[in-house]
Symmetry: C2
DNA sequence: GTAATGAAAACTGTCAACAGATAGGCGCCA
DNA sequence: TGGCGCCTATCTGTTGACAGTTTTCATTAC
């Protein structure tokens, strides 16, 4: 259950012998993939990596097998491992799964809501409104990410949290990822307010619905953006 | 994206060189774990396994790292890999995730329902009713499994399908698994009928709700069974 | 100029061996 | 007799090497 979101600056792997070389390598490879330093589609050369990290190929192979199970890379026999490339269809499928998980998180959170958390979430949405008015996407994006993370982190289900993060991370493998990020800052934040109200009411059904719909609408925006982009090609 | 459900009788690993030794070992280990031949909590000895399968330890280590990422085993540094043991809390968390995924599958299926599929699903529910009346759990269980699988398999989202199977499989690691299987055959099948009606109506919201609730109620039955069992101890 | 061919280079799959860590048993001592 | 520490057996972590496959590239024929 590795929740991969903090890309801690542990580039020097030599220090972390305490947590096994394989898992350190796995984290580092995951970081390289998610930051885009290893682009979707490229092959991962075991020998190059073993030279780069000063290890033998064994631990690297173990790490890549782990990443394969997580869906970040693809292993082709006798040809090597490739950073997974997500098609539009893959991305759309992931949005459905993410919507389901996020809706469930909303439901669970509504049933265990605290005043402090509600205040914090409200503050975040207010801040996003301010930023959205300026149209500053660079500021909006991390706030938005933090808002969603706080909801899922606070829902009380660690399994759900891990899965949610896994799929959000996986979306980084979608080449046209930039498409979905733009557009509709204010619109998106209106949906956030609806979620807030549902959470405050303590109504699980309603919270699940608003949270589900938020991701479903994001999916619709993605599809529209992809279609528009394709038409412009 | 390995959908693991068919435990094909490929006990002889020597034949399947075409799909790589590691993945064949992984499938076999997964089978041993899910069937309970390797019980939750036991340690997996690399040397014994390599002798048993006639390979070296390398491929076995790769296979176990993959299983670790899937959540079936736990790796402790310098001590080995252990078949994962699920607590009641873990099982309950998984039910929440499963409910979310199954609800989403219901929604997707409602929006792409065909007459043929509806007829097949109806036939299955009728058969379950007949079996439930006889109180034959051994006959009910596989029918029930097939009913759920058909719904998720037909929803058109392969990512969702793979995830759903992963979590259903994971529940095999729950030691008190027998607790949830018993009780409420007729009750459960009444919920199936509600799901059928929602699917037939083509109403996505309603289908999601009925499918979600079906798993949520199963979760509640599990909790009740566990509580009752604990009180009897 | 292009396509087919064959050899060599590069890379992955697998294995066997060594180094370090852990666990269990034995003897020593209070 | 019970507890402590040492020692050995067992097992995992990692490495380097060999075998087989894929890819690359130069050569040759058309």
């Amino acid at each position: 259950m590795s929740i991969i979101s903090d890309s801690a600056p542990l580039s020097d792997l030599s220090v972390v012998k305490s947590v096994s070389l394989t898992s350190a390598l796995e984290k580092e490879l995951e970081r390289l993939i998610l930051t885009g330093e290893l682009e979707p589609g490229v092959r991962i050369n075991e020998i190059h990596l073993s030279n780069r990290f000063g290890t033998s190929r064994g631990p690297i192979r173990e790490a890549t097998r782990s990443l394969e199970a997580k869906g970040l890379v693809e292993v082709v026999r006798n040809r090597g491992v490739f950073v997974r490339r997500l098609s539009v269809e893959d991305a759309v499928e992931i949005y459905d799964v993410r919507a389901a998980l996020f809706g469930q998180a909303g439901r669970l959170l509504a049933e265990r809501m605290t005043d402090g958390l509600l205040a914090e979430l409200t503050r975040m949405v207010d801040e996003m409104d301010a930023v959205a008015e300026r149209g500053s996407f660079d500021e909006y994006y991390p706030l938005n990410l933090g808002f969603h993370n706080l909801i899922v982190s606070s829902c009380g289900n660690r399994t759900l949290l891990a899965e949610y993060h896994r799929f959000v991370n996986k979306l980084h493998l979608f080449r046209a990822r930039a498409l979905v990020q733009g557009g509709g800052l204010a619109v998106s934040n209106r949906e956030h307010r609806a979620m807030l109200e549902a959470l405050a009411s303590g109504d699980g059904d309603r919270a699940q619905m608003t949270h589900w719909r938020h991701v479903a609408l994001a999916k619709r925006r993605l599809i529209a953006a992809v279609d528009g982009h394709a038409r412009n090609d």
